[in-house]
Symmetry: C2
Subunit: 345 residues, 2 copies
């Protein structure tokens, strides 16, 4: 068994460990945020962790009313500039905690008086040691270069933090049920292996999400690029319509992330348009009716609340990318030209 | 002559019109911003205008110290949430001013007391009528579906605003010289037509920028998608290394935007790595030494200051996309499946 497969299947246990181990820390951080009362949030992250930051943009914006900016680390590292962050909550997300550019953003923010938080899987990392507060993912060692369980635990950590801030009992219950939902999603994703060969020679794939699952489209596309070396397009349903939809020719494979939730009518409308263009749609959803638009359905558990659905909805995409890489005969745990820790400046 | 070609070649004149007509309005807006003293900026935009917003993220962050967030309009339109924007400058950018989601963000912000500004090419549009301040692009009617002169005037409007805020005489001189630089870049881009056929059957292209020209990589990639219907990848040099670089196989065409400026050493390092991978690099630069890494050079004027270079650096990309669409025999002004005004919610 590859590390990647082990790590994908370790996700329910990893999320359970995080929920059990860090509830106290999360409560402390939430108190600090309430006391600090930030006017906005800035998040610095790269790659997979940047996709977790996209989730935070929606979850914090919608549930806590905090506007969230994604940082542009170059502003700090290349141009030696320091945007005013004294009233901001500044969060660095990185599994390794080792990327120098992310650390520089946090360091700059802290020296201005910002409230700083790191979310990492490496408590002894430079990033974790730069911040006022650290949330440890408890994901266990991730050995595959393509991140999976550190991504879903990053999403969970963000969900825990927002739930602690909003203090809604139903959201707390949802969080406790999350490991079971993730487990169900893994089982529901087993059939992907049986039909993956259809895509052996696909040389491009688009992924479309909207709202909470905007991040899911990006993360699935990234996994496919990293593991399968094929070009991917990742868009929100709205941005996709503003131009990139022009690339869709008959047979173009498009993964549409469309769980039950607010963007569903828009995603259905997009599926209709893609059907007109004779695209080949792969649909990740718990809405059975969408099967009529889908060459392949990748199902999700029923009654999954939309706000937490990104933790589950990425899983069929992880499995799809893993099986496709296997069908292509690629090295699963060590994709060509990538390292586990990428140190950019 | 197609509308697209006319509009690409109208860019020096359009920018000159904007500089002449709106200096007074820009000064008024700059005063309003100074008086309001925002803690951060939020920009709502889609498609090409979102790439102009990416430029603003860097330019405002570096020159004025204002942190800039790109809005997630769904938070307002789909989830009916309203992040706290009372202390923010909220800017909507849209050539048509017609997209309902952008208008909703601005309306929500204004009702909270935010300072609001629209940058459009349509003064009578719903967006322009929702805001406290409006900056009119003076680009003249843009008839081609693929936006070109509205993009470069959007960039110029942002540059004018930041220059009014920082009040540096050298930056003011740079702005006045901009139409000439744009004109020079257009002339320097003429040879592209003579070698474009090499890419007639390219079915994917990546575009990489960093820092100020992060937006350029995104906008060139969008033009290629809209006009040529081929998949594109657009990344910052740093994000590209965090995974997507795995897709680069021998012969993969990569447009590298690498003008003189702070990110140049990083872009050179990337070019070395791409050469190792036997990628086919097309380099947009005013650094002659880079020719050794390039299958094709797309030159820029000498001594172009980096901060204003995105207005010029996109032009070879616009020409590349236009000529490639011609070589492919596509309808230039009316790409399949796109409309000039895309109304998303």
């Amino acid at each position: 068994m590859t590390f990647l497969q082990q790590e994908i299947y370790d996700q329910p246990a990893a999320i359970r460990r995080l929920l059990q181990a860090e509830t106290g820390t999360v409560a402390t951080v939430a108190r600090a945020i309430r006391d600090f009362d930030p006017t906005f949030v800035m998040i610095a992250a790269r790659g997979t962790s940047d996709n977790a930051a996209r989730y935070a943009q929606y979850l914090m914006g919608i549930k806590t009313g905090l506007p969230v900016a994604l940082a542009t680390p170059s502003v700090f590292t290349l141009y030696d500039a320091a945007p005013t962050l004294a009233r901001a909550l500044v969060i660095g997300i990185s599994q390794s905690g080792g990327s120098e550019d992310i650390r520089r953003v946090i360091e700059g923010a802290r020296s201005q008086g910002a409230l700083t938080l790191a979310i990492t899987n490496t408590p002894s990392s430079p990033l974790a040691e730069t911040v006022a507060y650290h949330l440890y993912l408890n994901a266990g060692k991730e050995q595959s270069v393509a991140a999976t369980k550190t991504y879903t635990t990053e999403l969970t950590a963000i969900a825990m933090l927002v739930t602690a801030l909003t203090d809604q009992a139903t959201d707390q219950e949802t969080l406790l049920a999350l490991p079971n939902w993730v487990e169900q999603t893994l089982h529901m994703s087993d059939p992907i292996a049986s039909w993956i060969e259809r895509y052996r020679y696909a040389n491009h794939i688009a992924s479309i999400g909207r709202g909470y699952n905007y991040c899911t489209a990006f993360e699935i596309s990234l996994k496919i690029k990293e593991l399968c070396y094929i070009t991917g397009e990742e868009y929100s349903e709205a941005d996709f319509r503003h131009g990139p939809i022009a690339i869709i020719q008959p047979g173009f494979p498009v993964i549409v992330v469309a769980p039950q939730g607010k963007p569903l009518p828009l995603q259905i409308d997009l599926l209709k348009k893609l059907k007109e263009k004779a695209a080949e749609c792969l649909v990740i959803s718990n809405v059975d009716d969408l099967a009529g638009y889908a060459q392949k359905m990748m199902p999700l558990p029923d009654k999954l609340p939309e706000w937490i659905s990104p933790v589950c909805a990425v899983i069929p995409g992880q499995c799809f990318a893993m099986h496709l890489a296997q069908a292509k005969g690629h090295a699963i745990d060590t994709p060509e030209g990538l390292q586990k820790v990428t140190n950019t400046v």
